[in-house]
Subunit: 488 residues, 4 copies
């Protein structure tokens, strides 16, 4: 029996991380958007959607489960998306939401207003969506998805502004939380970041009259666009007739960009805040080697996300870097378990230890983060079975002890290992010779803040590590969540 | 290149004919609905949908393109539709609308209101939908489909009534045209017919506490339910806790049931207005034999819809009934045409002449109707090629000269053969020895009106034959349609 | 758990009925074959295959499960089948054989010989296939299918003849049983019927230089080919360069065409032995009315196969013909059974009684045959539930008491109702007021033998009724089958 | 128009590389085989097949296009493969062979002999297959696939030996070329390597009575089996009733294992000839740094295959290792090219330069091999566009100048860049500052031969580099291929 959805439009798994992309001014904007979304696929693998507009054929859309490469490479699909203006969205896979009706949750969302249609794609999470949704339903709006982002299009529909750009401002002034938005009307491509700039959004130039908006710079690279600049926190850009105009619809606020984008989420070849993500991660390894040195024979990454920090650790410590764990390129989770018990089969489908290399060695394993800790235990088992003499874990982020409410899918606080154990307890529970996390200050230094974290006014959103939430998660508080400390 | 939709939610092909079904009071209502929709498949083959409600699992829905038997027989699908209450809809195939987004047009439609959710399935067509839609959009409603029927659920969302049944009344009092509606809340199954009762809807009893609503009685037969009675024109029934209560939300009006349901649309084993549809059709053949006799050797139906009238014609005339044309049970339209030209291949995929029988004979062909006339010409060609001595067409309906705006998909008036030619001109154009249609009076007599049509106050809606529209098609008039005569 | 095949190439369900078709001399022979197979789809619905040959592209093949219309209408498939010469096959669905490997059983079979390739399609059943297969395996042949027909191609591969036509003769002289075969080399289309001519095969002319071979004449009609003549029992025709040459590879024998083709299997618009199949079936009804009259109000066919005999019965008896049972055009078997028990749901998915017509009437039901009898009981139940006063069954074939070993899939003798009961016992077991089968003599008269059956030397194969097998089923006898009487 | 296959069983693309796996002695051997094939997926991605045997259910098979994880994780499929004995095969994708009939080419192949059935899976390539096939066809064998490997099963079918193990020996003594074979009867699992041992095959122990055979040791790791030893060149092992017996069916010969398995084909976590593949590759980088040093700022691998050698180069040279090129995890080839020309889009779908890192730097790129050289040019373009100051290519294998006829798919000699240019010419054609390949001696040293290559009697097959073919490719010579030097 498959799990039931309580009802198709009411699912509380709203915490997806996403990628957004938009293009204006080329003959076939949807093809550019497909490429851009392909480059952003790491931000969301469950599903993707594209809406395009053509002067004769109007708005068209296609929304599909699965990878961009499988859905938006087909001429049959792409021919239904003509025109010089298009936006798109990729969405993260949340357990259980894939089904007959969940295609409704795939963005972009479209609304037809009396002055014409508009589509929006949203990356982030709204912290007052439940309250807004309740209010909108009471006033007669009919929601078609379970997504918080749909509130934005309903707020736009009910705005009394005559102009769609103004309606977007009206709508976004009502929402709270983290949002980077790409939107389109029949003639305009629009990009907005929330006042704190929690999620990224960048502007690229394809030609003198053609432009692109992308969650990350790697999306610009794939279409050969020049990276111009980041959209700033609290900024709204409107691109029409080849011109980019900028306004500031919100009250000014201090930037609080998500530091986890540096640690894990963004692609290593993207540039965030003027820095190579790869370089920041390598530098995290350098900081870790300084903060938590240990004698060993090899430094091995847990592939692939631990690789840059492992390289940095090796370079700083002088201990040789090696591929001690090999990742299976053809992963899959759902093999039938052989009846003769195989220990750790789940892990073996994805990883294998380089036995001949590891045997008898003292191994430093560099991983990006520890969430529930269960994977770390399995990896430790594999390494020991292969004959390692010692295992030392070094983690390229501080202990993750708080859930994110701004667009990263995290387990409840009770399931986070670091919310329940000290570093030493975690070491013993995982069963390794040593376990060390980078400090919050070390992380800030690696991210370019030479003085470390400004505790009075932190330079980043680091709520998942610190419990300090820059925007109060009001829906969650209503549901009983206890915040460590109010927004600063 | 595939045709573009002007935009995914704005398609003016709203003239589909549909079938609707609902069940309350059994353990697994969706399975009953699947069976009922299977029996009603002739009313809509493009797509189908079911919404169910379960006290624990809430509302669930599944909507699919294709036949009921292919989609709603799968345990994986049906297990997602638990509960004692379900409604469903099958929809007619309109050219070009099958695509990535058109699944949005598949009913039932669902809306979440502050007092709970509701789903509706609609058979018929609203004649003021364009005006309503315009108004609702201006007030901030966001339409998700191109279907007129969606207006009903938005009108419900905006009603100030506290009770969903009252909201349905509110909504249906605002719409004009033809509608039979099956709706559901968490606890109620609701059925409504418009004041003129243009489209059918019947009530059946499954057990003392379980009930069904169906477009036709054949939907009751398949689930073993007892046919109790028709829902009356202008009546609303609400079934809850095993009890059926009836109200009359609309101003009283004289019934104008669609006479074309008798001629063609309903299944021959259904009972309409207390009469067997098969018997009415056989009687049409009897009337035709009286009105338009001719000397001949064989009476052959154009299969399968012409069969009952051909039987009647044979019985009244004494001319032997024979299967002169054989239908291929495994039809298909899209065979690649062999390069050596084969005349009439399209027709041959579906029909073949019983050559050894037809050769040298004078043949009377009985068909249900003539719309564009092109099929009639091809059939005549096949019969003559097989060596028939004479071909006489007898048509079991009057000339179709006007479009239907109440839920039957008809071509524009300019494409209707009978709108442009006299009976003699049609005979010559088709190229047969004689061509005769049943008269409007003859049709009424066959339908049980012994005195024929009451021209002062017709007993049926016969606008497609007479041009007399019982409800003014206001959207169409706004677009320039010229009606023969105002509503009576 | 799905049933296991004992192994993929060893399944004893070899008794499928099939349809075969071949074309030579047109630009795109495979398209003609696809149309011909579509017209022959009633002879086999499980799967179909086409092999074509093109001077440049050589032999190509496509074999698929499902209807011809679903598989061989696709340009992607048909473009892989170029050339002026093609043959095809449709195959009957036998339970359990559809799976990963069973596509190997789909004909035509292809073999590459040292002098070039050949493909064959076989309709019928070989009665010494098990012995031949055993011998061939011992000599080193590797079978790829579970089909008896594959023996023919292995016998061809091992023939010492230099010419493929001669190899076919060699091979067919080794096999026993019933076979109509269509074969092709790079330049020749070949047709053969076994010495008794048990299965049909006809020749048609497309143009002066293009020809077709088809199981039935309806396959010629769909491609606009002229029916020239039947291939005679024991005849082999070779068509090359637009010329048809005929030889007689076998010892002469008296024709024993399958009388069941007249009763049930062939299409009513086909011509067999110079007679319209429809007319033979109507005449069966006439004979039945003479042999087994009864007082009643209506004559109703069990649709659709009983229709022609019901028409004949009505015409001879003067009792009105009526559609008392309506068949669902959108059949399906696998609906989930609602938990509230619905009696006879299986039957209701396909058939519904025309209640308003049947109520209170004495009804004669005309059916084509009785095999296990279970369907007859269910139909009787439906008719009585609908209120019929009396039910009289009239069967358009004699009691089926013996299995067929010549290409019709029949249950074991122990499961055949007529093998275990007298006519009166069957009447009581089914539960009807009367039950009568046509006599064997009556059937022969309807089929044009004015003097009835020549018991000394029957004009047809009627083993399924008489137990007199014209070819001893040697494999089955080896397995223990007891024949009533040796071959005549 | 899709390309035509000349005919479905005659395709000369026989040069696939494959992976093979077998298990005996567990309850559900097919599940183990599925896991093993998953670990060997890098050896063949086009298709896979498994045959199992169960005492009651006999032989069963499933063969599918696509990844193991997509096909052999499904309970519906795996339940059809019961039993304690199973073998499997994965196959490399060769252009154009994927189609309706090519599933016939997917191994294992099965044959039914008079003493029972047997299945075989073959990795390698037979150099006299064309001649054998011709002979077998003349003697009456019918080939069902275009695969050379099918010869083996036909040779077995025609052997006069009574025992299947003996028939395998008979068959393998007739074939020439490279072969590692896994075979099974109803009770035995059999493994064989050709006399030179060109392709790998290893033995693993699951339990005291359960055993596995795998192309590489990584296949043993995933099922938790202990790596016992390699099957030796010219050895045949037969495993039955938990016992392993070894025989030597062929004349003794000196081992000539494929050195390219070390360079590229095998997984880095496998152990070949007692050495970690990863360590050999890292050592190649060390040798390269010694043979071909250059001043630079960064050593970057072309991901992922160049990674181990790049690590070695960095460690030996002291130049920092860095991820200068990032690989897209969600690759895809078939994106629609935007109409505004994007240069090098094909490469960008898979790779992106880490721009912020590369800008202004002198970069050493380490790649595994150069075949046609076109990819190298595109990568160089990307690196220079990103602002690199210098680009130096270092290649972890000698120039590939000769085709492989032993199971690796290589282009014709005329398309191999190194067959037509000197190292300097290649450097200029690719357009880089320097280009150096490892020497053949350097490669042998890295592979553990301290003295380098023994030119009188080479320790490995290195025909692709040296043109010295250890087995004369007789079919190819018959077709006109000119070998540099006869087999040694």
């Amino acid at each position: 029996m498959r799990p039931f959805l309580s009802h198709p439009f009411d699912d509380d798994k709203l915490k997806e991380e996403c990628g957004i992309f938009g293009v204006i001014g080329v003959t076939d904007a949807a093809n550019f958007v497909a490429l851009g979304l392909h480059a952003l696929q790491h931000r969301g693998q469950e599903a993707g959607g594209i809406v395009s507009h053509h002067p004769e054929h109007g708005f068209n859309s296609a929304r599909r489960f699965g990878y961009v490469r499988d859905n938006f490479t087909n001429a049959d699909v792409m021919e239904t998306l003509p025109g010089p203006l298009a936006i798109g969205h990729v969405r993260y896979s949340t357990a259980g939401s894939k089904g007959a009706t969940a295609i409704r949750d795939v963005q972009p969302f479209f609304g037809e207003f009396s002055m014409g249609g508009a589509a929006i794609a949203h990356n982030g999470n709204l912290t007052n969506a439940a309250a807004l949704r309740r209010e909108l339903i009471e006033r007669g709006s009919i929601f078609q998805s379970s997504s918080d982002s749909e509130c934005i299009i309903h707020l736009m529909a009910r705005s009394i502004q005559k102009n769609i750009s103004e309606r977007i401002k009206d709508a976004l002034r009502r929402v709270e939380g983290a949002f980077s938005v790409v939107a389109m009307t029949r003639t305009k491509l629009i990009g907005v970041r929330d006042p704190l700039g929690v999620r990224p959004l960048v502007l690229g130039r394809i030609s003198d009259t053609a432009w692109a908006l992308s969650s990350e710079t790697c999306g610009l690279d794939i279409i050969g666009a020049e990276f111009i600049r980041e959209i700033e926190p609290g900024e709204m850009v409107v691109i029409e007739d080849g011109k980019v105009t900028s306004t500031r619809p919100f009250a000014p606020a201090k930037s609080r960009f998500c530091i986890f984008e540096h640690v894990y989420f963004s692609r290593p070849d993207s540039i965030l805040g003027g820095r190579s993500v790869y370089e920041t991660r390598r530098q995290i390894g350098v900081e870790l080697a300084r903060e938590a040195p240990v004698e060993a024979d090899l430094v091995c990454p847990v592939p692939d996300s631990g690789t840059p920090a492992a390289i940095g650790y090796s370079q700083e410590s002088g201990i040789p870097y090696a591929m001690g764990i090999i990742r299976n390129q053809y992963m899959g989770r759902t093999f039938i378990e052989p009846t003769e018990s195989i220990r750790n089969m789940g892990v073996r489908l994805k990883l294998n230890v380089n036995r001949a290399l590891i045997k008898g060695k003292r191994v430093i394993l560099v991983d990006d983060s520890v969430v529930r800790g269960t994977t770390s235990r399995k990896i430790k088992d594999m390494i020991l079975e292969a004959g390692a003499a010692e295992v030392h874990f070094r983690i390229a982020s501080p202990p993750t002890a708080w859930p994110c409410f701004y667009g990263v899918d995290t387990p409840e606080r009770s399931k986070l290992l670091a919310a329940n154990m000290s570093e030493d307890e975690m070491r013993d529970w995982i069963g390794v010779n040593s376990l060390r996390f980078i400090t919050l200050d070390g992380l800030y230094r690696a991210a370019g803040e030479a003085q470390g974290r400004d505790n009075a006014s932190p330079q980043y959103c680091d709520a998942c590590f610190s419990g300090q939430y820059p925007v109060a998660p009001s829906d969650k508080i209503e549901q009983g969540f206890e915040m460590l400390k109010a927004a600063q």
